[in-house]
């Protein structure tokens, strides 16, 4: 589970988003969509990142990284030939087992894990709708990749200079309202993004009787289950159970997540 990965490529997507391609056959072999790796920086705790993409044949994985602080800034300095220590892959990812049609809904850096999932859906020939939200055209990324994979692509931007104006949830709402009854029962929605967005997405999905899965970003100590630093409250029937985001998650059935318990997480 501990690997020394070599940086193969560093590609900048926007002013504060970049992609690292890493040589790491062991993780490339195993990682499922929605699983994540723990990356070492000069800070004390590792940083969790979803495996955004992988190439089993080449033995490479790609991480999409949003620069938000010390650790991600340091990672943005990595260049081909540098090495990185990784733990993983960890967590319970997305499952396409029950899906006949797929909607992915992503906001900001929540878009990264969805690429891996979208590719999987494509491989399984599942009809795919991608609904992605950005701040503006300038800050958008991966839209072309999703375009190639999706039957339907709905973009939105808060600034209004790309696609629909407003939050990603508006795109979703419009889409869901157009959806016919029989379709919705075969459709599963997968989402990742800020907690507030996920809460809205889940409630829209519920309103339209669509099953949803969300990937949560909770601050983590270990990432592999020993510290209980990453609690997520989920409904199990009538009771609430507290489970670990890093092992039982990060992907949870949307309806079961007690979002109120997560105020304070981003």
């Amino acid at each position: 589970m501990t690997y020394e990965a070599t940086v193969i490529d560093q590609e900048r997507l926007t002013a504060d988003v970049f992609v690292l391609t890493l040589d790491c056959p062991a993780i490339a072999k195993e990682a499922e969509p929605g699983q994540f790796v723990q990356v070492k920086t000069s800070n004390l705790l590792r940083r969790p990142f979803a495996v955004m993409d992988l190439d089993r044949a080449k033995g490479t994985i790609r991480l999409g990284i949003h620069q938000v602080g010390k650790g991600t800034n340091e990672l943005s300095q990595k260049r081909p030939g540098d090495t990185l220590s990784l733990l993983g892959p960890f967590g319970t990812g997305f499952s396409l087992a029950e899906a006949k049609r797929v909607i992915v809904v992503g906001g900001g850096s929540g878009i990264f894990p969805l690429l891996h999932l979208a590719k999987q859906a494509k491989r399984q020939a599942l009809p795919l709708t991608s609904i992605l939200g950005f701040q503006s055209r300038e800050r958008s990324f991966l839209a072309d990749d999703f375009k190639d994979l999706s039957d339907d692509l709905i973009l939105s931007s808060e600034s209004g200079d790309m696609g629909l104006t407003g939050y990603v949830t508006q795109g979703l709402q419009a889409y869901l309202e157009d959806l016919s009854e029989p379709t919705s029962s075969q459709t599963i929605l997968y989402s990742c993004g800020p907690i507030a967005m996920l809460e809205a997405v889940v409630s829209l999905a519920k309103a339209h009787h669509i099953k949803s899965y969300v990937s949560l970003e909770v601050r983590m100590g270990c990432g592999y289950g020993v510290c209980r630093g990453c609690p997520v409250d989920v409904y199990k029937g009538d009771t609430i159970e507290r489970v670990r985001c890093c092992v039982e998650g990060p992907v949870f059935s949307g309806e079961t997540v007690v979002f109120d318990s997560l105020r304070g997480e981003v």
Binding site: M1, K40, L44, R219, V226, R228, G229, P231, G264, E265
Partner: protein
């Protein structure tokens, strides 16, 4: 090859390196990934009388060479621990210590009594949790520590370590009280109470507002306390706080620790933790130390 084994209160540890409470769970995840027979032992997550859900997220905040945690003693509680966890924990191929936390002396005594027959190598009483009854921390009042320890002593023949909080004026008073109460060892230090703030939301990062500081940042404080306590008591000291490498282990042993525990390191670098005994062996060799126990308390103060 140096001799790494350490014997205290008739228990032999194959080496002095244990995993600290709260950072190894109940051993399940680690024993699946690593060979626990390379380390001296594991100290379980705290077990409390009743199940505890702990605090809401966020429970973790990073600081300069440290971290704050406010897990809030999440654990399944004694009954479920005995029913569903203890058997696996007992089977670990290393020394197994169960960490106990409670809100009153009676509860600690109950916990110890209930584990009297358990197949484990000892108990560690975590005295850092705030006593809700009278607003005082058990861990900061020597009289309570002695009373508590002597009551536990009466119900259990297992080795009992008392784990002290560093948030006190005199750590030696607390340690002496534990010894007077019949403790077999003193574990120190637990975490220092701290806070981290997000200036944008103007909120503490931790939902619990405050949390316990661990990691390399606290090592100098831990070393000082181990040194002080080693001189004040004659029972073994188990040292911890910020250990990351074999040099750190030796520093703690020179200061007076018979055994050490490793906490925060396990979260970020579990493989390094499991390699520590080997690194310690190599370093001891380089230093010409044939028996690791020769280091204990050998600090020469100026």
């Amino acid at each position: 090859m140096s001799q790494l084994n350490v014997m205290i209160h008739h228990t032999t540890f194959r080496n002095p390196i244990l995993g600290a409470s709260g950072t190894v769970g109940f051993g399940r995840e680690l024993s699946r990934l690593f060979d626990v027979s390379t380390i001296g032992g594991l100290v379980s997550k705290a077990v409390t009388p009743q199940p505890r859900r702990g605090n809401f997220a966020p429970r973790i905040a990073e600081t300069a060479q440290g971290m704050l945690n406010a897990v809030g003693l999440e654990n399944p509680g004694l009954e479920q621990f005995k029913r569903e966890v203890l058997a696996d924990f007992s089977e670990l191929n290393c020394r197994r210590i169960v960490n106990l936390a409670a809100g009153s002396i009676e509860e600690y005594v109950d916990l110890a009594r209930e584990l009297r027959e358990a197949d484990i190598d000892g108990l560690e009483l975590n005295l850092s949790c705030p006593n809700v009854k009278d607003g005082l921390s058990f861990g900061s009042d020597p009289k309570q520590i002695e009373g508590l320890m002597s009551r536990v002593r009466r119900v259990s023949d297992k080795p009992v370590w008392v784990k002290l909080t560093p948030n006190v004026t005199s750590i030696t008073d607390c340690a002496k009280a534990a010894e007077a109460g019949g403790a077999d060892g003193i574990s120190l230090i637990n975490t220092l109470l701290g806070m981290a703030i997000d200036i944008r939301s103007r909120r503490p990062i931790l939902k619990n507002n405050t949390g316990g500081l661990s990691g390399p940042a606290i090592k100098p404080i831990a070393l000082r306390m181990v040194h002080e306590v080693y001189q004040a008591v004659s029972i073994p000291v188990i040292g911890l706080g910020g250990i990351r490498c074999a040099e750190d282990v030796i520093e703690f042993m020179l200061a007076g620790a018979s055994l050490v525990q490793v906490g925060t390191l396990i979260l970020s670098d579990p493989a390094t933790f499991f390699e520590l005994p080997r690194e310690l062996d190599k370093l001891a060799d380089r230093l010409g130390v044939t028996q690791i126990t020769q280091l204990i308390g050998q600090l020469k103060t100026w």
